[in-house]
Structures are given as C-alpha cells and as structure tokens.
Amino acid sequence: MLFLMFHIGSDRFVLDAEQVERVLPLMEAKSLPGAPPEVVGVINYRGAPTPLIDLSRVALGRPSKRLMSTRIILARYPGERESHDRLALCAERVIKTIHRDPADFVATGVEAGSPAHLGPVASDADGFIQWVRVEALLADEVRDLLFQRAEASA
C-alpha cells in the first residue's frame, strides 16, 4: 500500500495515497477572516474554491515553514452522498512516498488522549510513522463551516 509522507515538526506522518488527488506547490490562499485558526483560507484550484488546512497549525499551532518542500496535498475528503469534497492540506517536507503493509501499523495505545485523525503507527529505523486519517481531520463544526457553506451558496 502506498503512502504519502509528510512532516509535522520533526515527526513523520503518512496519508493513504488513495486519498490524495494531487500534490501541489505552495500557493497563496485567500484568507477567510473569522475561520478557525487551522484554516489558512481558500485556494482556487481550477476555479473550484478549496479550503486549505495547515497541518502544522493543527498539531503545533504554528504555520508550516515557507520552504520549497512545504507543499499542498489535495486530498479527497469524503462528503455527503457519494461525492468527494476536496480538501487542501498544507504540510512540511512532502517529498516522499513509502510502501508499507497496512498490517505494519499498530495502535499506539494512547488513542483516548489523542485527536481522532491520528491513527496507528508503524516503525522503521528512524522511529515511528503515524497514519493520519483525512476523514477524521476536521472537527464537526469546522467541517460544517467549510463544506455546508459552499453548498448553501452553490
């Protein structure tokens, strides 16, 4: 199974590559005043407004470093009905994919205390890699804010 790796601070995380539509370069986003802090704004992807979430801000409360390796992951966010919404995720060091067996990932044992989107971990020589679940990334109220609003105006 293919995973896309990224970093939050010095720790490594992966997303299921199936959920990734594209990796885009870092680009300017239109800010959304009043939105939750992790929502950087909205990027215009081929004319479709796509909310941009900064994963460094979600986890660490600071924005991702503005480097060439900081990229935008265009993820498929499961929407209502069968449709998919697109969610743009900004993360550091999006430069690598890895192949791992999903069975390599084991529960951390501290699920109760960690956010819902942080999944099981797999280990390698450099430490642990944690699986991030896109579908659980947004708190309900943020999800409603980002996607209901788009639907209402459409």
Partner: protein
C-alpha cells in the same frame, strides 16, 4: 539501530541516503513570487486545466538519438544517469551490445538503441545548437533484468493525454516503425512512442 536500518542491503541504505540529499535540496526558501505564480496557474479555468493536465495520464521519457526524437513510456524506466565509460566485452562484437557499464555499482549491459532502431548516429546537426543538454545514459528494466542505452539528449518526462496520440504515419523511418507504436504530438512535432515491452523482449533475446 543503524545496522537494522541497512537491513534492506547496502543498495537500500545508499538509496535512502540519496533520497535524503535530494530532499535536502528542497529545504530552501521560496523564490519571490512563487506562491502568487502558482496560485495564478491553478486558478486557470477547469476546461483549460483539463486540457493541460487532468487528462494527461500517460507519461513518457523524451530523448534524442541522432536526429530522431523518441518517447519511451516511463513504466519500465529506472533512471537517467550521466554517461560513463563503456567497457567492451571480449568476443562480443555485434552492433547491438556496446559493452557493460557501471551504474552505481551495478554492472549493466549497455546496448545501442540506435542500432536496434536503425537510426544513424551520424546525425549531429542538431547537437550544436542544443549542446547544453548533453548525452545521457538511460536505464530500463523489468523483473530485475536491467539494461542501459546511451542517448544524445534527454528532454525529460512528458505527460500526455490520449488525444495527443496520433496514428503512426507511413513515413516514419523503416526500422523504427516496428518498435514505434504511435506518435505523440509534442511542441509542434510528432514523436514516435516506442513499445518498451517489445524492446525489452528483443534485448533479452539478443543478450541470451
């Protein structure tokens, strides 16, 4: 722990190290106007974008041998390396097999795609004006069997969509036509796309 890291063999750890170095190249600040330019690029209309990348689900490496620009699907493409010395093989004096080359410690058979396709290597008319892109060694392979062939210039990987494909015209070079399966439109010219499976098969047969 470092010993465990090299569990994939010496090749694995050197690959990981080179990936780290390549990743390090991207650890640099954004050039001025980078974010704005990309925002403008991706803000392009859906229809425009579709024409540009959405349908482009095929990829081929574009390279030049002599006067001929060719495209090879990336499925069996392993790497593009700097040209290096070819060591000739004793008692092997055919046109196709040039010798062996050392690509990062692995000895690969170096073949002449020009000989296979019947392209005359004499055509260097274009080389003068495009001399900044030098010759390269392209490594292809399948199922662990790898081979390398020298090319005069590599353009890069070109992504294209099904509608960029043209039928093979009758005028393409005689021998090349058996390996070229279709034409790809690229910046005003049509390039023969080679059948990589057929080439690999032919190489396997000729080397055995």
């Amino acid at each position: 722990m470092t010993g465990a890291g090299g569990g994939g063999g010496p090749g694995g750890s050197s690959k990981a190290a080179s990936a780290e170095i390549a990743g390090g190249l991207l650890e640099r600040p954004l050039p001025a106007g980078y974010c704005e330019d990309w925002a403008r690029h991706f803000a392009g209309l859906e229809s425009e974008g579709a024409a540009e990348d959405e349908g482009a689900d095929r990829a081929a490496l574009l390279f030049r041998i002599g006067d001929e620009w060719l495209a090879l699907p990336t499925d069996h493409l392993h790497e593009v390396a700097q040209p290096r010395r070819t060591h000739s093989l004793p008692h092997r004096r055919d046109e196709l097999v040039l010798g062996i080359v050392n690509v990062r410690g692995e000895l690969l058979v170096c073949v002449s795609l020009a000989a296979l396709l019947g392209i005359s290597a004499a055509g260097t008319a274009e080389a003068g004006e495009r001399s900044r892109a030098g010759p390269r060694l392209v490594v292809i392979g399948r199922d662990g069997r790898r081979a390398a062939f020298p090319v005069d210039e590599v353009h890069g990987v070109h992504r294209y969509a099904a509608r960029d494909v043209l039928a093979l015209p009758a005028t393409i070079g005689k021998a090349a036509s058996s390996y070229a399966v279709e034409m790809i439109a690229w910046s005003g010219r049509a390039i023969g796309r080679l059948d990589d499976a057929l080439i690999l098969e032919t190489l396997d047969r000729s080397m055995s």
